[in-house]
Amino acid sequence: MPDAIVSIRNVSRRYPGGVVAVDDVSVDIEQNEFFALLGPSGCGKTTLLRMISGLDTPTEGHIYIGGEDMALTPPNKRPTNMVFQSYAVFPHMTVAQNVGYGLKVTGVPSDEIKRRVAEGLEMVKLSHLADRKPDQMSGGQRQRVALARALVKRPKVLLLDEPLSALDAKLRDDMRMELTRLQQTVGITFIIVTHDQDEALSMASRIAVMEKGKIRQIATPAELYEHPANKFVADFIGKVNLFEASVVSQKGSDVIANVKGLGKLKLVSDKACGKDVTIAVRPEKLKLSDAAPKVEGIVKAQATVRDVAYYGDWSEVVAEMADGTSVSVNVQNEKRSIGSAAKRGDKIWVSWQGTDSLILTE
């Protein structure tokens, strides 16, 4: 009996016709975690969430919630509640009726329903709209109703399917804060599905990155960003410069590799790597300078600025090296000045600490 609150063991979901939505996934989600399933659309993250809720059934494997096998438990008997992407707030009921629905159908006494509905609405700051019908409310308000409706059931696990995707940018930021705050106050395990890496990085305590039905890496946000396990994760989470390279020699953790466009480099890797590898380095780890930096042990290359995108507090500079490979460099605009550090056509030097780059073997 696994002691994680949600334990997914070798779960697959195959559809007739050969499509495999979820492919042999195993993951343990701990009590009180804010867990994110992150991946591009069609990666199987929503299917996995629906299988936890019971709305979809695994074709192979087992799902345990609170230590119990859920194979024969229908969705209405599971200790999970879901906030749907479309919110699915019942249009023929008032806000209070919506929030109380899950309590009413399970036979909770009416005075307790009243109390818990009031509490739930308080929690999402909608007490003043209790008698409204959903069609008189904004998308953000409807989402709060859906959230309160799920939370008053006091589930062991709250499942959120793309909760922020239908909100506009400002509201999305507010709701992100609100969800984190709610998760801390109610002390319920949250599992959120999202395709937005910013959302996952900023809210989740742990993230599972999925691709084509498989989990590619499970880690904390910082670990995912700084130590991606493979090219897919490195590329999906944030921006990254990738260089093809071949390993010349490896002694312990010291690796010498021949990197395309940069020549022979001294790099660090804590595991044995094969011959063909990919070198990854984040744009903010790169520095720009007019002259060749004179520091020993750093990676440097001359390049021509091709494009500059200005974002206010920072700029993205795209530069092209002698062999045609282009690199992205993020520059903080620290000084107040009109026009940024680099202009199109400038000859500049790009450099970074060898230890800031990463060797990816897959």
């Binding site: 209405n76 249009p91 399970t106 069609d135 859906a146």
Partner: protein
């Protein structure tokens, strides 16, 4: 879409043929019948004339329509129609639901099966029902194999209701199908997820959200049932006369057009009443999204 005020010429070009069609073949005859309903057959040389009328003599026809004989038939027509509508609803709902949740490639075929009877003449279909239900019919034949019957299944209210259900079923299935098809499945999933059983979900979510289709179906079935005369005539015979048969007889066998016109208009007012109820309901259930 633009409203027609912006495109008057298009509106009149497209609207004129239909407008004159309705005026000539619907409004004018209806007006004639309306006048007729307040008239009486003329008395010429002490004999009731067959072809001449005294126009606008008063409301005697309407008073006659409220005689107990006709009130009984009217009342019976209403409950037979109501029962037929109810049976239609109870049968059509699972059918419509089944079609909606069928694999996409099966849907057109299943819908075709629902409307297939429309391709065959009503009279022929009704005679076919007689062949099924008569004393030597197929049902009794089948019952005979297991040692039951034969039963008299024709010429009673059961036969009429069965016939009406059979004839008007598609009018119930189609509007139900249209609303159930539009119903967002996530409402049903949300209900299940919140702890409701399948049955609770059906009663508290599915039925209220498909109410517009239910109401439309009820009206589309109930109104023609109320005015039907062919089905009760052929399947009900003398034992199951409905108000439609009474009207038909006034215009044909009894040759009493004024009285027939009066009952026709009373039936029409009853129909308007039903439609007004629906409009009232629609106003109160605003927010369900009709």
């Amino acid at each position: 879409m633009d409203d027609w005020k912006g495109n008057r010429r298009v509106f009149w070009t497209l609207g004129t043929p239909g407008f004159f069609w309705l005026l000539l073949f619907f409004v004018v005859p209806l007006g004639f019948l309306f006048v007729m309903s307040f008239s009486d057959k003329a008395v010429v040389d002490g004999q009731v004339s067959i072809t001449d009328y005294d126009y606008l003599t008063g409301v005697s026809n309407y008073i006659r329509a409220f005689e107990p004989l006709y009130l009984t038939i009217m009342w019976k027509s209403i409950w037979v129609s109501a029962l037929a509508t109810l049976v239609c609803l109870l049968t059509a709902y699972p059918i419509a639901f089944g079609i909606c949740f069928a694999p996409a490639k099966w849907k057109p075929l299943l819908l075709l099966l629902v409307i297939l009877p429309f391709w065959i003449n009503l009279l022929i279909r009704t005679y076919a029902l007689i062949a099924v239900f008569r004393t030597q019919g197929y049902v009794n034949l089948a019952l005979g194999w297991v040692g039951l019957g034969p039963y008299d299944m024709l010429y009673n209210n059961f036969a009429v209701i069965f016939g009406l259900v059979y004839v008007y079923m598609p009018f119930m299935v189609l509007p139900l199908y249209a609303t159930i098809e539009r119903l967002d499945r996530s409402f049903l999933e949300a209900s299940l997820d919140l702890g409701a059983s399948q049955f609770q979900t059906f009663l508290k979510v599915t039925v209220p959200l498909t109410m517009p289709g239910i109401i439309t179906g009820i009206i589309l079935v109930f109104i023609p049932c109320l005015g039907s005369f062919l089905t009760p005539d052929l399947l009900g015979g003398a034992n199951a006369v409905m108000i439609g048969n009474v009207i038909e007889r006034q215009f044909k066998a009894a040759n009493d057009w004024p009285f027939g016109a009066a009952i026709s208009f009373l039936l029409m007012y009853a129909t308007f009443g039903a439609l007004a109820l629906r409009a009232l309901f629609a106003r109160f259930s605003k927010g369900v999204g009709v």
